[in-house]
Amino acid sequence: MDNEDRFRRTHPYSLLRHFRIYAVLLILTILQQVFIRPQDIPALIGSLGINALYVLTVLFYFISDYTNRLCRIGENSFDVRSGIFLKRRYSIPNNKISSIMFYSNIISYLFNAESISVDTPGGFRKKYDFSAYFTRKKANELRSRIEGDMEPSFVFKSRIISIILMSAFWANPVTGIIFIVPVTTNISRIVGSDTAERLIRGSIDSQWRIIATWISPAAALLAAVILLCWAISMLNVFLRYVRFKSLRLGDYVVTSKGLIARTEIYTTVSSISSVSIDQSLFMKILKLKSCTVTLKSAGKRKGDRSLLFSADSYDKVQNGMTEITGIPNREDSVLRRAPRSVFAYIYLPLILIFVIVALIILSYFVRFLTSSIRLLLYIFMIIVIWWLMLRIFAYFHSRISLNDKCLIVCSFHRMTLKKQYIPFEMIQYAEITRTPFQKRSGKCSMNVSIYSEKRKSVRIKQLPMDAARELLMRENIKMIESR
């Protein structure tokens, strides 16, 4: 029998990875021994306590799981046998695979290991159908088997500046807090709470002196923490997306990204359920667009917003999208949103602006609304005004159109204007909904449901009712009308 056809254990790094997570518990047990210093054997056994028992159970479970998990990457399928008490065996046929992900970081690189994760439209949400660490040689073999003799027909390489901009806008200060909180807690533990407090005061008095002349020291500290968390988060996003590249290789769309941790994803073109060309207001000012794909799957990366093109010029993204996915970008028959319906687009941000203005005015009269809260209100006000401007921008660009292969829906979603290309075969149905106001004015909203996780749908507001219905009937798209 050929070596390729044998079931084998995965790379031992998968075991080490589990140990890394539970290493803290091992250290705790050792520390317990050091500090309690048991004098005799019963005391020694007693002091080990529940930690040792827990660690032993975890070790036993992971070692048993590792030894019982056998995989085979065959010519036509991925085969797995796993389970300690509950034995599972399955094989995923190659023709059902929607994406294959290769992942390695510095530590796995040192151990000569690379993770291979396989996704199909089946299985559980937020979980790969197959995921295991293999040697880099094995991963490279699979990679070369997928690629064969094919040459990439189209290659897109992102610019560093666009990745920096993207990281700045995708960065979430809350992510930064996850990193910063343990650091600051440990600093105060090491240097003592008095010294830590002096450090914080010193930073406000020196680095934030200019800001602190305009706002209170507490507000300056808050602004500093937000800024610091945001910067950490931005660095995190930047490292994940730098060296981004996408290309078309036969039936696959290949994307690769990351500096410290490298991710390479091979996605089959047939599993793409929609392509979205996105533009935020800031990107509009800089004349940039980006592109993401949604897959007809339901796992961790299933239905995930996967980047296809980072921010780049209009033409490069539009034409590149057609080159890489084969979906034409022209719009044959266009149906715009109904005229004089701007209020439906902007009423929500308008209400919020009124509320924030009222709270700011109130903060000058009510004692418990401190300057720190006022600062947050000002920040929130800027965000809401930005949101209002986006809604106005979306009002002028919202439309639905067709070409011979797909339905194109251009509408806003959160803080982005999205132009979604949905192949006709990926549309489940289109639902037309009407509020009492819309019924009176002959307008409607449309939800186009696509084959993806969580009943993903694309929504467009304020379309002329009769024209929308006619457009759907013309293309034989299954239509549901709510009463």
Binding site: P93, K96, P121, G123, K296, A298
Partner: protein, 158 residues
């Protein structure tokens, strides 16, 4: 066509009743331990819970498990697999073979002893369990689904 598809309807055998009865008995051990623990602090509550557990155990062992086994049936048609089950609420699931992505054969310790298995039919976004069929039937089903290429897709040369 495989043997499994010749049968009009597959019902789970008496072995399934034995397996589920043993499973339930094993499950009762931690329940009993918890009740003993509660008994140390709240003896009255432990007494009530103990009686309730015994009643539930007896009713499930004597009535529910055999009735559930009788209600379980699988029909393997050319294009669909029909799963019927339910004691109080009868449920039927018709799974088009074309929508099955792949299958997982699951075998617990008892199932291994009695040569039984559960086949999980992985569909797009969900799954259906075909419980307590014989291992040979499970293997036949998986082999058929792999051979038939349910999705109608072509090998992509990976």
């Amino acid at each position: 066509m495989k043997k499994i598809f010749d049968k009009p309807k597959i019902r789970v055998s008496r072995t399934a009743v034995i397996i589920w009865r043993i499973d339930l008995t094993i499950l009762m051990i931690p329940v009993a331990l918890v009740i003993v623990l509660i008994d140390a602090f709240f003896p009255v509550i432990a007494g009530v819970l103990g009686v309730a557990a015994v009643i539930v155990y007896a009713v499930t062992m004597i009535f529910y498990i055999p009735m559930y086994c009788r209600s379980l049936s699988y029909t393997f048609e050319k294009n669909n697999i029909v799963v019927r089950k339910g004691v109080f609420y009868k449920r039927s699931a018709v799974v088009p073979i074309s929508s099955i992505q792949y299958c997982v054969i699951i075998q617990g310790l008892l199932q291994k002893r009695f040569k039984r298995c559960t086949v999980a039919l992985m569909l797009a976004g969900s799954f259906i369990l075909v419980r307590q069929i014989s291992l040979s039937e499970g293997d036949e089903l998986v082999a058929f689904l792999n051979e038939e290429d349910p999705g109608g897709g072509e090998e992509d040369g990976q």
